[in-house]
Symmetry: none
Subunit: 301 residues, 2 copies
DNA sequence: CACGGTGGTGCAAATTTCGCACCACCCCAT
DNA sequence: ATGGGGTGGTGCGAAATTTGCACCACCGTG
């Protein structure tokens, strides 16, 4: 918005050299030189004394530089204010989450949020837990919801909750109604479980590989709808957190039995944001709503 | 120096219309419109709400307008400061004066002034008294020196002094040594007097036309050198103020006898400047020196 | 004296800005 | 319902401005 001269002038004063400033600014020195000469002509005063080593500010140049720097600084502040005002009214939130949350609690959270900010658009991407963390750390997503096994220096956990994996079965299944199950209890059944698309760093694969009693997986799917159909068709036992099937369990269509296991039984799910990004009012509200939604869910029985 | 956008934006906000602002700014409405649209895109926010009647500032627009107006105002002040700093070092003074002063006191005043401001150039224009006043009022001259019969709303009298007309004669002239003369005393002599080049509003012509005893003029000239030669050649009596012949009178080459007459005997000469123009340090000093030079002159005997 | 730095300029290419002609919409009077 | 008079906004070509290349002139240093 402001004349490019302000930036050029500032840099030349800083570098004490037209050619050095041009290098920093990544433009030709003639462009910088001509801008300064033009303003000197407009003002009828020299901004710099030319020396063989470069340029030195004159008294007039010092006065003008002070003005230019003040203008640039005030514009930066104005810009931040405008950015805040703009984002308060409209804008976009990028949410990346494990898919169970996308189904389980996010729809209600978005409904509540949109009553306050109807013009803010939201995108929801489902991804594997470690991809969620990476996206948040890099600033590619505003909010992430995923398991929180390890901390990440660039990720801030805003809230978290225990969300153990468990067995999801039809209500008439022999395991239905158990207060909990162990891996051994699942040995005689085929499993339906989520898949890590890239097959690496999967907490479930890692956990599964440490089991003394191997479990057999019949269906791999991160499509929870498909998983539900398979469970209801008695193709196996679902091995998921309760989050993605919360409504079905509430309605009695499915039963959830928490898994007692060192890793899978001690999973926590958290709401996270980038450690370096500011949290504006809209983002803050969305996180609060998601945290509250998840906080109200009974996920361990 | 600053982006033209600032000016356009300010005016659109003032006029509440792109087309009206364009008229005021004397540019096409598309130019103004595109500047605003471009900045709105840069900022990612609307500056105006568009209505069928024109445009209304948005909250963001109000914030930015405040910034723009502050920048423009601060630049104006910076510019004035720079102008003062520049003019302190170099510059130009336009002086317009009646020619007697150009010869009498101005040379010494300029000599003294140039010791302080060697780089300020000076132009001296001689003119009839009313032309001096007009030039100063219009700002065409920085300093004027002339008779001050009437006041002018656009002219400020910085200092003035009594400078009556009188008879200038050779030292051996019969009138030499008289303390004063009346019009009647001059009746038997031919006059050498200044001429109003345009022949209108001349104080001398007006004064002469009211005399009961008509005086005969032999030579009309505003060239004081020629007047002096005519006086010394006994072609007549000079009818001038003492200013232009001060050195000659001091040296005894000519005698000055003040005229006792209602108009010509009560003339005052003043140093004047435009009432609306600022008086910078250089201009102030020049006025002071001229006033001091003229103040030290004994003009009434 | 040569080299490596600086600021500064002529000129043509590249880019931006501007204005004309026009479109679409709105409001108001008839 | 229609026409007139206003508004903001756009496509396009001309005009103006900006940019960078190639080069000049000067200065300080080894």
């Amino acid at each position: 918005m402001h004349s490019i001269f302000l930036k050029y002038f500032d840099e030349v004063a800083r570098q004490r050299s037209i050619r050095k400033a041009a290098l920093v600014l990544n433009v030709s020195s003639t462009s910088v030189n001509r801008k300064i000469l033009k303003i000197e002509e407009e003002l009828g005063a020299s901004l710099f004394d030319r020396t063989p080593e470069g340029v030195e500010l004159t008294a007039v140049g010092g006065i003008l530089l002070e003005h230019c720097r003040r203008v640039l600084h005030e514009f930066d502040r104005t810009r931040v204010l405008i950015d805040d005002m703009r984002d308060l009214r409209t804008g976009h939130l990028n949410i990346i989450t494990v898919d169970s949350v996308a189904i389980g609690s996010l729809p209600r959270a978005i409904n509540e949020f949109s009553k306050v900010y109807p013009d803010i658009s939201i995108s929801v991407t489902t991804a594997q837990p470690e991809d969620v963390v990476d996206a948040v750390a890099m600033g590619d997503a505003d909010i992430g919801i995923a398991f929180t096994f390890t901390s990440h220096p660039d990720v801030r956990i805003l809230s978290e909750k225990s969300a153990p994996f468990g067995a999801l079965v039809r209500p008439d299944h022999p395991l239905s109604g158990w207060p909990s199950v162990t891996v051994e209890d699942l040995a005689g059944y085929r499993l339906i479980r989520t898949i890590d698309a890239r097959g690496r760093n999967s907490i479930i694969d890692q956990a599964m590989s440490t089991l003394v009693t191997p479990l057999s997986t019949y269906v791999f799917t991160n499509t929870l709808f498909l998983a539900k159909e398979m469970i209801l068709s008695n193709h196996g036992i679902g091995l998921y957190t309760k989050i993605g099937f919360y409504d079905e369990v509430q309605r009695g269509e499915l039963s959830f039995i928490p898994l007692i296991q060192a890793t899978l039984g001690n999973v926590r799910v958290g709401v996270m944001a980038s450690a370096s990004a500011a949290i504006g009012p809209a983002k803050r509200l969305m996180c609060d709503i998601i945290s509250r939604e998840m906080g109200s869910m009974r996920l361990d029985s």
